[in-house]
């Protein structure tokens, strides 16, 4: 039963707000808290009993499942970080027998940095329901054609939105990424109404559609864009070029994938699906929990997923939580767009990139560890350039040999990072050697708005 609200805030439009699971999405704060407490207590016991890695962490902290009686005791639990994922790779944090798992998803990157997440069928249903909520919040109904241009495969983008679209009963176009001409042709021929992809790809599609003069041929009304940071300016650009309303979506493979949080018609933050994920914001230096409204590192506790249930997982994303009443009628806590990172991870073309990965490749290829990473966004597409100092060993009197070395480096970077990086060879000692912490990253995208 759709709940109809009057919303005169936005563009004087009367919006009809629909919910995929209204009883949960609009539950009272007390109901949400009670549900979270009940689920947390069970989940802690499940993890304690089945994940020796986390049990050891709890024991080291002197916490037993009996100490966790409600959500108020959450702060007693130890944190998990990406380092734990690396240490426990691949099965160390899996809490169900592997025969109960039906899916693996993963992030790009090397073994050390790669996240491998496991799902039972129930876990997939939870994830897909979360994505379905996001699609419905963006105005999706059963009569929509949902065009999914996120990558399919190990990446959670494609499978997540695809599953969500199935769950809410829309006609789903599993396009995956790339082949822009075919994307646009299908969009025109099959009347796609909701586009799901990275914001930079949406912008690129918009430009291409405009260039081809096909804007009147497309029927898009909304887009759900995530997996990378984007600004309000970019939102307006995309909305104008595609003639749609653009919605943000947030997620991470560790917690499930896209749909951990999503934007509603109010577009003043993303509702976190609190019946599945408890959100906290902490001081990244001390680990102390901060009150709502304060900026800090986002921490998630998965309270319903069974196969890969992370408790107090530190996302390293910096944001602010708000429990102010939302005009859309949803009651779940809202998070701002990530305002930065508490580590040095970069998100480039939707792919997580750590400077340490680049450093590893350079050292393996015989280059000095003195380098600089320059990230720009040209025509709404991220560009990564790695500047590295030429050495006597890599130098040659012939262009072909120098270029062969350069190509070898590009291909080693590509296989490590999963994306293309331009390599620029610079003269020795031209990259500043700072006295303290080296400035290795120059991100010219200005993605984070504070």
């Amino acid at each position: 039963m759709p709940v109809i609200l009057n919303n005169d805030r936005e563009r004087n439009l009367k919006l009809m707000e629909n919910y995929f699971q209204p009883e949960v999405e609009c539950a009272s704060r007390e109901e949400i808290k009670a549900l979270q407490s009940e689920r947390l207590v069970k989940q802690v016991k499940h993890v304690y009993d089945n994940v020796p890695y986390y049990r050891k962490k709890m024991e080291e902290k002197g916490v037993t499942p009996e100490d966790i009686k409600s959500i108020d005791d959450l702060h007693k639990l130890p944190f998990l970080t990406k380092d734990d994922l690396r240490e426990a790779y691949p099965y160390g944090l899996v809490a169900t027998p592997l025969e109960d798992c039906v899916r693996i998803q993963s992030t790009s990157g090397t073994t050390g940095r790669r996240v491998v997440a496991f799902y039972t069928q129930d876990d997939l249903d939870i994830w897909e329901n979360c994505c379905a909520r996001a699609i419905v919040a963006a105005g999706g109904t059963k009569s929509d054609v949902v065009h999914v241009s996120y990558g399919y495969g190990l990446f959670t983008g494609g499978p997540g939105l695809n599953g969500g679209s199935h769950k809410m009963g829309a006609l789903t176009l599993p396009m995956s990424s790339g082949n822009t001409d075919r994307q646009i042709q299908f969009m025109c021929d099959l009347g796609s109404t909701i586009l799901c992809c990275t914001p930079s790809y949406a912008a690129y599609l918009g430009e291409t559609i405009t260039e081809k003069g096909l804007k009147d041929e497309i029927k898009l009304k909304a887009g759900i864009f995530g997996a990378e940071a984007w600004t309000e300016e970019m939102r307006h650009d995309i909305e104008n070029t595609l003639g749609i309303k653009a919605y943000d979506i947030y997620g991470l493979t560790e917690i499930s994938g896209p749909g951990v949080a999503f934007e509603c018609s109010a577009q003043t933050g993303m509702h976190i699906n609190e019946d599945h994920f408890i959100a906290e914001v902490i001081n990244p230096k001390t680990g102390e929990v901060l009150p709502d409204g304060e900026k800090g590192e986002l921490v998630f506790t998965s309270i319903t997923k069974k196969a890969f249930p992370l408790l107090r997982y530190r996302t390293k994303d910096i944001c602010i939580l708000s429990r102010e009443k939302c005009s859309c009628g949803r009651t779940h806590v809202k998070m701002t767009k990530p305002m930065g990172r508490s580590d040095d991870m970069l998100i480039i073309k939707g792919v997580n990139v750590f400077p340490s990965q680049i450093e590893t490749v350079l050292l393996n290829q015989g280059y000095p560890a003195n380098y600089q990473i320059i990230v720009t966004r040209e025509n709404n597409s991220d560009q990564l350039e790695v500047q590295v100092e030429m050495t006597a060993e890599m130098f040659s009197d012939t262009i072909s040999k120098v270029e062969a070395n350069e190509k070898a480096l590009i291909s080693a970077l590509k296989s490590m990072l999963g994306i293309y990086a331009k390599v620029k060879l610079v003269a020795p000692k031209t990259i500043a050697r700072s006295e303290g912490k080296a400035v290795r990253i120059i991100d010219k995208r200005n993605l984070y708005q504070n």
């Binding site: 130098f395 120098v402 060879l425 003269a427």
Partner: protein, 143 residues
């Protein structure tokens, strides 16, 4: 019988080459031949000098990346067809030429080509058998 070419990595930025030639001039280094191969981002400056050891030291001390490559220097008469004759010999013997550049010495009517080939010794043998005159590092002073 070869000469020692010094190649230097130079970034494609205004003033970079001037900085380098300034350094050479301050150290009284006389260039006999010069060529630049360039890409979008960088260039490789190749020079022939009398004292290659000193030049390489000066460049390295100033922080340049450089290396020394033995290349062939062929002497020929400064008239049409001379270069063609040499290239024909290389071609007929399937000797691959990486790059080449020319310079004039002070000897009237003579011209010189620097040849960078894959196989120096084999090329020297074949050129010598065909009566081509090559000069060595020590001959550069006389030119």
């Amino acid at each position: 019988m070869n000469v020692k070419q010094i190649s230097v990595f130079v970034e494609n930025e205004a003033g970079n080459l001037a900085d380098l030639t300034k350094l050479l001039s301050e150290n009284n280094i006389d260039m006999r031949a010069l060529s630049i191969a360039d890409t979008k981002d960088f260039g490789i400056l190749r020079i022939i000098v009398d004292d290659s050891y000193k030049t390489a030291c000066v460049l390295k001390d100033a922080g340049y990346v450089c290396n020394i490559t033995p290349v062939l220097a062929v002497e020929m008469s400064d008239e049409p067809g001379s270069l063609n004759k040499i290239l024909m010999i290389l071609g007929e013997n399937k000797l691959n030429l990486e790059y080449t550049y020319a310079f004039n010495g002070r000897k009237e009517g003579r011209a010189y080509m620097i040849l960078r080939v894959d196989e120096n010794e084999k090329t020297i043998d074949i050129l010598a058998k065909n009566g081509v005159k090559m000069i060595g590092q020590d001959d550069l002073k006389e030119l």
